[in-house]
């Protein structure tokens, strides 16, 4: 028998576990579909059993965090096993309905003995009997929430719902993956109009829609979640238009802990592509080497993310297919590109001051019909960035006589403080004339 080294064993194991994985016959179709609608990103996660969406909540939970460790036999498990959620009285108006609660426990037992078999697929091992933390009436039907200790992560939560025929089904379940995290809530029922959330002792808030300000800034308006008797029943907006909602711990410092749920089992993000059909990197400085497309893309997107112009967790986004790059006279690097978050694409210029924080300048909504689709006025009188692919851009300061002139290909950096006249020559039709104000 060949003796494998440990490194080789890992190599073999990686091949072994991936060998049954083959790409779907529909992959090309799916990719083609995405290309057609160019709605590239689908970051929506769908969780749970039967395609139901579960919101997983990251919390620095005072209660849940105490002593929970990743070991099977350490003090963390004991702490989790003694947790109030595992031993407190069952809340909800159906807590005393033994017929329903027995049915829930039977469903759980059958589910565990079936597909779950005492584990989640990531290896989380469930221990002991599930404790019913809540059982009550909801607009989606009679529901229940069970809590169970796990070997690895402390607690796992399972959500149940009785269907119209009376059968109870598991709607979603999940472990606490690391200390301080727990399952926040689950959308229950086929109509997806109820978000059920277990009270784990943390104030929570909820937002049902996102807004994008005219300047491109993304925001969510949150309202407090009111828990009653151990759980909150939150009405999910319904309607023909699918959209995303947010659910998070109160006092969150950033959006990194936000989680989201969908009101429909389909991605709401399939907007038409409004971006400019340009490709590549355009330099505004003749002869200046340009960074790679990937590098520009990364720095541009990082800056937009940090400045609140993107929306992590969104279902789709369309990144720029082009970037204009250059250096200002004070060595500040400039990257201009576009970004489509919703139904329109927006132009931004990112200024990277050496040693400073990036500055993002909003350059307006893309209009593909105008002669000069990208014109961004830089702050502090530092001029304009103008872009039009496959075009020779000639400019001069307006006024009697030619005072200054310049030429750029695809993109140009123009001086501030003067009214400017531009000539856009695509080589085909008659050149276009465009003015920029002082």
């Amino acid at each position: 028998m060949t003796q494998l080294t440990e490194d080789e064993q890992v190599r073999v194991a990686l091949r072994l576990v991936t060998s049954p994985v083959v790409s779907s016959p529909d992959l090309l179709l799916e990719v083609r579909h995405r290309i057609r609608r160019t709605s590239v990103r689908r970051r929506v996660q769908r969780f749970g059993v039967g395609g139901f969406a579960i919101a997983m909540m990251a919390m620095t939970a005072v209660m849940l965090n105490a002593g929970v460790t990743m070991t099977a036999t350490g003090p963390g498990l004991a702490a989790a096993a003694n947790h109030v959620l595992l031993s407190g009285p069952t809340g909800g108006d159906l807590a005393a309905d033994t017929g329903f609660t027995t049915q829930v426990m039977s469903t759980w037992t059958a589910w565990q003995q079936g597909g779950a078999n005492g584990h989640y697929d990531d290896g989380t091992q469930l221990t002991e009997q599930m404790h019913l933390a809540w059982a009550g009436t909801t607009p989606a039907g009679d529901a229940a929430i069970g809590v169970q200790a796990t070997v690895q992560t402390g607690l796992a939560v399972t959500y149940f719902l009785a269907g119209s025929a009376g059968a109870v089904t598991v709607q979603g379940t999940g472990p606490i993956r690391t200390p301080g995290r727990t399952l926040g809530g689950v959308i229950i029922g086929t109509e997806r109009k109820v978000l059920l959330s277990l009270d784990v002792g943390q104030p929570m808030e909820y937002a049902s829609s996102r807004s994008v300000a005219p300047d491109g800034h993304v925001s969510w308006r949150f309202a407090s979640v009111h828990y009653r008797d151990g759980a909150a029943i939150i009405a999910v907006p319904t309607g023909p238009k699918a959209h995303e909602m947010r659910f998070q711990r109160v006092g969150l410092a950033s959006d990194e802990d936000q989680v989201y749920v969908l009101n429909q089992p389909v991605s709401p993000y399939e907007s038409d592509d409004r971006r400019l059909a340009w490709n590549g990197v355009f330099s505004v400085n003749e002869g200046l080497p340009t960074p790679s497309f990937d590098s520009l893309e990364r720095r541009f997107n990082d800056a937009l993310y940090a400045a609140g112009y993107t929306d992590p967790g969104q279902g789709a986004e369309m990144e720029s297919g082009w970037y204009a790059y250059g250096r200002l006279t004070d060595s500040t690097e400039m990257i201009t590109g576009e970004y489509q978050l919703d139904d329109v694409s927006r132009v931004f210029a990112v200024l990277l001051v050496p040693g400073g924080s990036p500055v993002v300048v909003f350059g307006g909504v893309v209009n593909r019909e105008v002669d000069l689709p990208v014109k961004v006025r830089l702050p502090d009188g530092r001029g304009w960035v103008v872009v039009r692919a496959d075009t020779t851009i000639t400019w001069r300061i307006a006024g009697p006589g030619i005072q200054d002139t310049g030429v750029g290909h695809d993109a140009a950096l123009l001086p501030g403080g003067h009214e400017l006249q531009l000539r856009l020559d695509t080589g085909g039709t008659a050149p276009k004339q465009v003015s920029l104000p002082a």
Binding site: M1, T2, Q3, L4, E6, D7, Q9, V10, R11, V12, A13, L14, L16, V17, T18, S19, P20, V21, V22, S23, S24, L27, L28, V31, I35, V40, R41, R42, R43, Q45, R46, F47, G48, I54, M56, M57, A58, G115, H119, Y120, D121, D122, G123, T124, G174, P175, R177, R181, E256, D257, Q258, V259, N279, F293, D294, R298, N301, T310, P312, G313
Partner: protein, 171 residues
């Protein structure tokens, strides 16, 4: 004459399974891997004219970067899909589900760059220098990242006794 679309289709048909396997290890989640691969393939399509030689290498680089960036943008968001990420549709997998479960769970616990280093070194069989280029770091960093990740995987494989099983398969 073969056009861009035909070339791209042939590329997807020929490379998608290999890329999907890498993606799966990189994100430790089957559904997310499929999603990631689709994202990357769309990107490859739009960049087709700029890709001079090896589209699979380009796609692999994009996979790695996208996997790391995806995690960076959503680093505090629980990745619960791992709980449902094991493919149970194939009969082959049913036999090795425990190994799959253990390895994927162990990978899932690794920081994304560490995970990427392990995948590039021990699945893609890239050299430290090649992995360093893809990860945008030095060879020493790759060595350190891969070593830590490997230690974790070894621990899992040893505890599950799957190392022996891996050995049996190739004997």
């Amino acid at each position: 004459m073969v056009g861009k679309d035909d070339e791209f289709d042939a590329f997807v048909r020929g490379s998608s399974t290999r890329l999907l396997r890498s993606a799966w290890l990189l994100v430790a989640d089957r559904q997310a891997a499929e999603d990631l691969l689709q994202e990357v393939l769309v990107k490859v399509y739009f960049a087709w004219g700029r890709i001079e030689t090896n589209p699979e290498a380009y796609a692999r680089r994009a996979l790695v970067r996208q996997a790391i960036n995806r995690h960076r943008y959503r680093k505090r968001r629980p990745e619960s899909t791992a709980a449902y990420g094991v493919d149970r549709t194939s009969p082959d997998i049913a036999d090795s589900v425990a190994l799959q479960r253990s390895v994927i769970a162990a990978l899932h616990e690794l920081p994304p760059k560490q995970r990427a280093a392990v995948v590039l070194r021990y699945f893609e069989d890239l050299s430290e220098a090649e992995a360093a280029v893809l990860l945008g770091c030095t060879g020493g960093t790759v060595r350190a990242q891969a070593s830590r990740g490997l230690a974790r995987l070894r621990a899992v494989l040893t505890s599950e006794d799957t190392g022996d099983r891996a050995a049996e398969v190739v004997c």
